[in-house]
C-alpha cells in the first residue's frame, strides 16, 4: 500500500512539472498513422497488416499459457478463462465503442468522440483516416492490441481475483483507461506526435500497452491485496507451458511491432531488425546476470530476459539503429532483472506475475531509451544522443502522465467494483485454486 501511494505521488508530481517544462510540439512532426499514407489501398500493406493482426491475436491466448505455466497447477484453467474471455470482451467493446473513442475526432486532446461507434463510418474498402489499408482492417489490428493489453494486466491479479470482478474491471478499464491512452498517443491527442502538446514517440505501444498494463497491474494488485502465503509457489508448475506461451509472444511481437507501421516499407525492416536483436541480446544479458548472481541460468529467466528486451524496444523500434537496439536490450534485461527482484521482495505489492517488473519497468526504460537513442536519420524528433532534448523531456513527461493517469483511474475503478461485489477469493477458494473453486474444471485429470 505504502509503495503504491508513493508511486502515485511521485508520478503525479513528475507529470505536473513536466507539463510546464514542455516545448510545444512543432507542427511539422510527422504523424505515425499518416506515414506514407495516401488513402489509396495497397494490397501488399493489407496482406502484411492482416498477417500482423493474426500474430498479435496469437499473443492473447499465448499469455494465458505463459502466465498459467508460471502459477500452481490449480490456477491453469482459471488463468486461461480470464485471458480468453478478457480478450473477447475487450475486443467487442473496442469494436463497438473503444475504437471510436480512440480514433474518431478529438475532445480536449484527451479522448475521441462517437463518430465511429458501432463500427459506423468504418469502411471495409477505403480509409477515411488516409491509410493504405481499409479502416475496418485498422480497427481489427488495433482491437487485438486492446485485447492483448487487457490480458497482460491479468497477470498482476492472478490466483485471487474473482472472474466476474476482473471481467467487469476490464470492460470499464478498456473504455476509461485504454481507449483514452490510445487516443492520446496514436489518435491525435495530447501525447501524439502530430497534434500533441508533448513531443513524444511511442511506435508500437511502449506507453499505451506496456507502461499502461504494468501500472494498471499494480493498481489492481493493491486493491486486491496479497495472496495467502500458502498459495504462493515460486516454482512454475509447468516450464513447457510457460515456455510455449513465451515463444508465441515472441513470434507475435513480430506482428505487434512490425504491424504498427501499417505498411511494408524500409521502416518495417528496421523495426524487425531492432525487435529481434534487442530481444536476443536481452536474453543473453539476463542469462549473464543469472550466472553472476545465482551461478546458473533458468528457462524462466531466459524468457523474462527476451520479454524485457521486447518490451523495451517497443516504443523505439522504428527510431533506433540495430546497435542501439542491442544496447537497449542489454540494459533492459539488467533493469528488469533488478526490477523484478525489487517488486517481489520490497514493493509490498503482490504483482503475481511480474507485470510491473517486466512490462512497467521495461516499458519505462524503453520510453526513456527512445528519448536517448532516437536517431535523427530515422525520425524528425531525435533523442539526446543526436542532440534532441525536447524528445527526452517529452518522454519523461509522457511516462509520468501515463503512470499517473492509468494508475489513478484503474485504482478507482477497482475500488468502485469492490464496493458492489466481492472481488477476491476466500482463503479456502484461494487454496483450492480458481480452477476448481470458480470454474469447476481442473486442468489436468
Amino acid at each position: 500500500m505504502k509503495l503504491g501511494i508513493m508511486i502515485a505521488v511521485v508520478v503525479v508530481a513528475i507529470a505536473s512539472v513536466s507539463l510546464f517544462l514542455l516545448p510545444e510540439a512543432s507542427a511539422e512532426t510527422a504523424e505515425i498513422l499518416a506515414d506514407d499514407a495516401s488513402g489509396v489501398l495497397d494490397h501488399t500493406d493489407m496482406t502484411w497488416v492482416l498477417v500482423a493482426t493474426t500474430l498479435v491475436f496469437m499473443m492473447a491466448p499465448a499469455l494465458a499459457l505463459f502466465y498459467g505455466g508460471m502459477l500452481r497447477k490449480q490456477s491453469m484453467t482459471s488463468t486461461i478463462a480470464q485471458c480468453i474471455m478478457g480478450v473477447a470482451l475487450v475486443f467487442v467493446i473496442w469494436a463497438f465503442i473503444g475504437y471510436s473513442l480512440a480514433f474518431s475526432g478529438d475532445i480536449g486532446g484527451f479522448i475521441g468522440d462517437l463518430g465511429f461507434a458501432l463500427m459506423h463510418n468504418v469502411p471495409y474498402d477505403s480509409s477515411s483516416l488516409g491509410l493504405t489499408i481499409p479502416d475496418m482492417e485498422f480497427l481489427m489490428f488495433q482491437g487485438m492490441f486492446a485485447g492483448v493489453t487487457a490480458c497482460i494486466v491479468i497477470g498482476a491479479s492472478a490466483e485471487r481475483a474473482r472472474f466476474s470482478a476482473i471481467m467487469l474491471f476490464l470492460a470499464l478499464w478498456s473504455v476509461l483507461v485504454y481507449a483514452p491512452m490510445a487516443h492520446m498517443v496514436w489518435g491525435g491527442g495530447l501525447l501524439s506526435t502530430a497534434g500533441g502538446h508533448i513531443v513524444s514517440l511511442d511506435y508500437a505501444g511502449g506507453m499505451v500497452v506496456h507502461i499502461c498494463a504494468g501500472i494498471t497491474g499494480v493498481a489492481i494488485a493493491m486493491v486486491l491485496g496479497k495472496r495467502s502465503s500458502r498459495t504462493i509457489k515460486d516454482r512454475p508448475h509447468s516450464i513447457p507451458w510457460m515456455y510455449l506461451g513465451a515463444i508465441l509472444l515472441w513470434l507475435g511481437w513480430i506482428g505487434f511491432n512490425g504491424g504498427s507501421g501499417l505498411a511494408v516499407n524500409e521502416t518495417l525492416v528496421i523495426v524487425i531488425a531492432t525487435t529481434i536483436i534487442s530481444s536476443m541480446v536481452a536474453m543473453l544479458a539476463w542469462g549473464a546476470m543469472q550466472v553472476l548472481h545465482a551461478g546458473r541460468v533458468s528457462v524462466s529467466g531466459m524468457c523474462a530476459g527476451f520479454l524485457s528486451g521486447l518490451v523495451a524496444i517497443t516504443p523505439a523500434c522504428a527510431f533506433v539503429s540495430p546497435a542501439s537496439a542491442a544496447f537497449i536490450g542489454a540494459t533492459a534485461a539488467i533493469v528488469c532483472y533488478f526490477g523484478v527482484i525489487f517488486m517481489r521482495k520490497r514493493s509490498g505489492v503482490d504483482d503475481a506475475l511480474d507485470v510491473f517488473g517486466i512490462h512497467g519497468i521495461g516499458g519505462i526504460w524503453g520510453a526513456i531509451a527512445t528519448g536517448i537513442f532516437a536517431s535523427s536519420m530515422l525520425t524528425d524528433t531525435p533523442g539526446l544522443i543526436d542532440g534532441g532534448v525536447d524528445l527526452f523531456v517529452g518522454q519523461l513527461a509522457a511516462i509520468g502522465f501515463t503512470l499517473a493517469y492509468c494508475f489513478t483511474v484503474s485504482f478507482v475503478i477497482m475500488k468502485a467494483i469492490s464496493l458492489v461485489m466481492r472481488i477476491r477469493y476466500t482463503e479456502d477458494e484461494e487454496l483450492i485454486g480458481g480452477d476448481i473453486a470458480e470454474h469447476g474444471e481442473s486442468a489436468y485429470n
Binding site: 500458502r230 479456502d428 477458494e429 483450492i432 476448481i436
Partner: protein, 105 residues
C-alpha cells in the same frame, strides 16, 4: 520398526523435510496424493448452489524408523506441518517387520 505415514499440506513439505534432516532422519519417500478429511472437503458456493470439493492435494510421506525414533519423528512432523487450520493432516503408524537394503554395502 515402524512406518510413519504422514499426510501433510504440499506447502509444508520443505519445512518437514528440513526439520527431519536436522534431526538426522534422512530416509523418506514422498507421494503425491489427494485427500479428504473429517470435514469431507470444502464447500464452495456459486450462483446456482453449493458444491463440495473433496479431493484436495496433499503430500504423503512414508518414513520407516526404528521403534525408539517413532515418537521423535511424529513430534517433528507435527510441529513442522502445523499451520493451525483445518486440513493440516494426519499421521498414521504402521508396523514394519523387516527392512532390507537392495544394495548391501
Amino acid at each position: 520398526m515402524k512406518m510413519i505415514v504422514a499426510i501433510i499440506r504440499p506447502e509444508r513439505l520443505q519445512s518437514v523435510k528440513d526439520a527431519l534432516r536436522c534431526n538426522g532422519i534422512m530416509g523418506m519417500t514422498m507421494i503425491q496424493v489427494k485427500g479428504r478429511g473429517s470435514q469431507s472437503g470444502v464447500n464452495i458456493s456459486t450462483r446456482t448452489g453449493i458444491f463440495r470439493v473433496d479431493e484436495i492435494e496433499k503430500i504423503m510421506l512414508e518414513i520407516v524408523v526404528e521403534d525408539d525414533q517413532k515418537q521423535q519423528t511424529i513430534d517433528i512432523i507435527k510441529e513442522a506441518a502445523l499451520t493451525g487450520h483445518i486440513g493440516d493432516g494426519r499421521i498414521f503408524v504402521v508396523p514394519v517387520e523387516e527392512s532390507i537394503k537392495v544394495h548391501d554395502e
